[in-house]
């Protein structure tokens, strides 16, 4: 136990030095962070004297990994959203109806008239034919619409589930197709949320899928959860429709393939529109906040070639008729087409504030969400509160540390000093590892570190107490130290493994701040065992070999 081979010594010293080096940037958090931001900005192609100055706050060659501060420390917004994945089923089914109708109309001689029946579940399409004898034939035709699934998990299955009874045919998405659709919806939603959040350019947002239909969004530095909700909660489905007429009665029955949408600005005003849009937001390539000729905020946009062609054709043919710009089922404006618009670009006017037009441009650029979302959980932490918590945590950690250091020296003298040096390296290691793995420090995480400071000495206490006991049976100091380590080992191993198990369970089952806490706790256990069994022991061994003391007091 008192022999440590040279390569082990070198390794221990190296690890300790590495811990110090990688923990250091956290002492200069603000400087390093500004340096890192500047480096990122310069990599993105910007280069200004200010950025140069920011960059020079921290040398390029030095490690610049930092611990991420959790929302409760930095301030920011946290949202848990549930995506209404079943919205998409209804969309798919609605899109199917014209196809079914057209197919059956070709067979009018056999099946007679075709009607879409009201359905309780918007994800189910119910069709009735007027000629009851033709139902068999209609059923066969409709079945031809179902295609085999293309995805890996759905192989061998059809995408539509088509059933019939005496008078009706029911069409719905098959289970496999629903699952595949859910996955696509979630992937799309994640992508679009990410694009929207990136557009406003905040630092390190966390956007994660949770479970089947939930998305967790954490954005540090944003003012409030409401702001974030406005940004990501809007579906932003933009469509351009021909206007049939206007009405003030929202219950007026619209004609075939027509819809009624309210006006966004004018309470009580409704527009009757052609259901099929001329062009949609999917065909936009760019949108920018702008001002109209009267200086009011507006959004200018540009279509891709296909959209531009459709838009150009339509405007050329319908000069003088009104044209509705619809965002999320509300008519933003319905200008009259003054002339042919060939270039595929235009401007949306409405009663916008500058902020709204900027937001709308962001939303249009990022694209529409495939489905609506509701927010199950939202938290906003102000930056001041976070800073208060950091300050309080720092003071508490320093005081806790100093008290423990003094207490250890009082109890164990020189050996206490050895344990203290190990404790300092232990804390450095926790910070270094958290920085390297990009871990997040939360408020409970700080508590975890302070607790580790208290508990970290436990392994050394076990050893020292054991050495004391062995010294009493007096078989020489070297032997006592050796036995102390040997006999304390099983207690150290068992005690730390059981604590580590609880940390692991917290990590696996916990979420948010609890998880942050489990990481610091688990890391603390590993590093404290390392510090006691290797660092403190190495110091002890070096001291012992130099001094060769006849007696030791511990």
């Amino acid at each position: 136990m008192l022999q440590i081979s040279l390569w082990k010594r070198a390794l221990i010293v190296l690890l300790c030095l590495a811990a110090l080096v990688y923990a250091t940037p956290n002492l200069f958090y603000d400087r390093v962070e500004r340096h890192n931001d500047a480096v990122l900005a310069m990599e993105a192609g910007q280069d200004t004297p200010e950025l140069q100055a920011e960059r020079s706050l921290w040398p390029d060659w030095a490690p610049s990994y930092l611990i991420n501060l959790g929302l409760d420390l930095r301030g920011g917004a946290h949202l848990l959203a549930e995506v209404h994945v079943s919205d998409v089923y209804a969309d798919r089914i609605d899109a199917l109806w014209p196809e079914v109708r057209d197919l059956l109309l070709n067979e009018r001689a056999i099946v007679g008239g075709v009607r879409r029946m009201p359905s309780d579940d918007p994800g189910v399409l119910i069709i009735a034919v007027s000629n009851a004898d033709g139902l068999d034939h209609a059923f066969e035709i409709v079945q031809s619409l179902s295609r085999p699934m293309q995805t890996l998990t759905g192989i061998g299955q059809q995408d539509l589930e088509i059933t019939r009874d005496q008078s009706q045919i029911r069409i719905t998405l098959s289970e496999a197709e629903r699952l595949a659709t859910d996955d696509r919806t979630m992937a799309q939603s994640l992508e679009i949320i990410r694009r929207r959040v990136d557009e406003v350019g905040t630092r390190e947002p966390t956007i994660l899928r949770q479970g089947t239909d939930r998305i967790l969004i954490q954005v540090p530095g944003i003012g409030s959860a409401d702001e974030l909700k406005a940004l990501i909660g809007t579906t932003a489905r933009l469509t351009f429709h021909p206007v049939i007429g206007t009405t003030r009665d929202p219950n007026e029955t619209a004609g075939l393939r027509q819809v009624i949408h309210p006006s966004a600005d004018d309470e009580g005003q409704f527009y009757i529109l052609e259901q099929t849009p001329v062009v949609t937001g999917e065909q936009l390539v760019d949108a920018q906040p702008d001002f109209d000729q009267n200086g009011r905020p507006a959004v200018s946009f540009r279509f891709n070639p296909a959209g531009a062609r459709a838009f150009g054709l339509y405007t050329a043919e319908n000069i003088g008729s009104p044209f509705a710009i619809v965002l999320d089922d509300k008519v933003i404006s319905a200008p009259v087409i003054q002339s042919h618009i060939p270039g595929g670009s235009g401007i949306i006017t409405g009663r916008f504030s500058v902020e709204e037009s900027t937001n709308l441009a962001v939303l249009l650029r990022a694209g529409a969400l495939p489905a609506q979302m509701t927010f199950l959980e939202e938290r906003t932490i102000g930056p001041e509160l976070g800073q208060d918590s950091i300050d309080a945590g720092k003071i508490a950690a320093v005081v806790a540390m100093s008290l423990v250091l003094v207490y250890m020296v009082l109890s164990y003298g020189l050996f206490g000093m050895f344990a203290n040096i190990a404790l300092l390296f232990n804390v450095a290691m926790i910070f270094a590892i958290l920085s390297l793995i990009g871990g997040t420090l939360t408020l409970p995480g700080i508590a975890g570190i302070v607790l580790t400071i208290g508990m970290a000495v436990d392994a050394n206490v076990l050893i020292f107490e054991r050495i004391r006991e062995e010294l009493r049976t007096a078989r020489g100091t070297a032997r006592a130290i050796e036995l102390g380590y040997e006999k304390a080992m099983s207690a150290i191993v068992d005690a730390n493994i059981t604590t580590f198990i609880t940390a692991a369970i917290l990590f696996a089952l916990g979420s948010g701040p609890v998880r942050g806490f489990s990481i610091t706790l688990g890391l603390g256990i590993i590093t404290s065992v390392f510090a006691a069994l290797f660092v403190a022991r190495l110091i002890l061994v070096i001291w012992y070999q130099h001094r060769r003391p006849k007696t030791i007091t511990i």
Partner: protein, 321 residues
């Protein structure tokens, strides 16, 4: 001269008055259970759903006028409490306003939030809202479930590990001690009505970890002494082991408590409940390793013919009995 909490040699009869100590623990557990069912925990929004707004202003807080401002909004059950903390500046006045959840799934509408904030600013124009948290009832129900699962999973895995490393009597003793700690912690939270939220679950599990640490160290020594002193009774061996580890038990408890008390006093009010749970846990955890875990091992008895062969303390590893 060294600071020593206990003399080198102690000979305290820990096991002797076990009826009194174990009885006290049992009584406290019953009391905690009764209080828990009679009064209940003061659940935070994590577990109950609702909205919690933290306000900060420079004017002294009059809870009554806050209430008067919010009552006309008809938001149902609203609770307002002022937060005190020694770390605050003189003109820093903090309160939390809690609104029960309305509706079924959604957390809170921006309109309601804006109304509440406007009403409060009407009372004190200097108010800022340093944090706003809102949890829908759908999620809070799941969080309760997750928390219970986490605690049970921790207990089960500990049971299995100690069973593998020691014997089943030890595993039962350790888990009984942990249950004791958890029940007493829930009891004290019910009595003092400290807010019980997700972070407290983390604290509970840490208590489990700490108490276990303590129990395992004692058990480790019992295991060693059972082999060393084959002739002595189990009660003697337990007493001897507890006395031998007493110095370490107190030493570690004190260093941990020093760190926790520093955090309790200086760490700010946001985590005070969390730290309180841990301080309490260290106290009851230390108590329970001696007076619950060891007592149960004594009552259950241990087979003494085990541990022959290559079971050298210090070098053994995961040898299943």
């Amino acid at each position: 001269m060294r600071l020593k909490l206990v003399p080198d040699q102690t000979n305290i009869n820990f096991m002797g008055p076990w009826r009194i100590t174990f009885g006290l623990s049992a009584l406290l557990m019953v009391l905690s259970t009764v209080v828990f069912f009679a009064v209940g925990l003061n659940f935070g929004i994590d577990f109950q759903g609702g909205t919690s707004i933290r306000t900060q202003g420079t004017q002294a807080i009059d809870v009554g006028s806050y209430r008067d401002a919010i009552t006309p909004l008809n938001l149902g059950d609203v609770s307002i409490s002022e937060v005190f903390d020694p770390t605050y500046a003189a003109d820093q006045h903090v309160a939390t306003v809690r609104i029960q959840s309305i509706g079924d799934a959604e957390s809170v509408t921006p309109e309601v939030l804006a109304q509440v904030e406007a009403a409060l600013v009407g009372v004190d124009p200097t108010l800022t809202f340093t944090s706003v948290e809102s949890v829908g009832p759908k999620v809070s129900g799941e969080l309760v479930q997750e928390a219970i699962i986490a605690v049970i999973a921790a207990l089960c895995s500990v049971l299995i590990y100690i069973w593998l490393r020691f014997e089943w009597q030890f595993a039962l003793g350790a888990v009984a001690a942990l249950l004791h700690d958890i029940i007493l912690t829930i009891g004290v939270f019910s009595i003092l009505q400290i807010k019980f939220d997700l972070a407290i679950i983390a604290a509970l599990l840490t208590i489990v970890g700490y108490s276990l640490n303590d129990t395992v160290v004692v058990f480790d020594r019992v295991r060693e002494n059972l082999i060393k002193f084959k002739k002595r009774t189990l009660e003697d061996v337990l007493n001897l082991s507890l006395n031998e580890t007493l110095s370490r038990t107190l030493m570690t408890s004190v260093t941990t408590l020093i760190a926790l008390i520093a955090l309790f006093v200086l760490g700010g009010d946001v985590i005070r409940g969390f730290v309180f749970a841990m301080i309490w846990g260290v106290l009851v955890g230390t108590w329970s390793s001696v007076y619950v875990a060891a007592v149960i091992v004594k009552r259950l008895g241990v087979r003494r013919d085990l541990g022959k062969g290559g079971d050298k303390p210090g070098t053994q590893f995961a040898t299943a009995p």
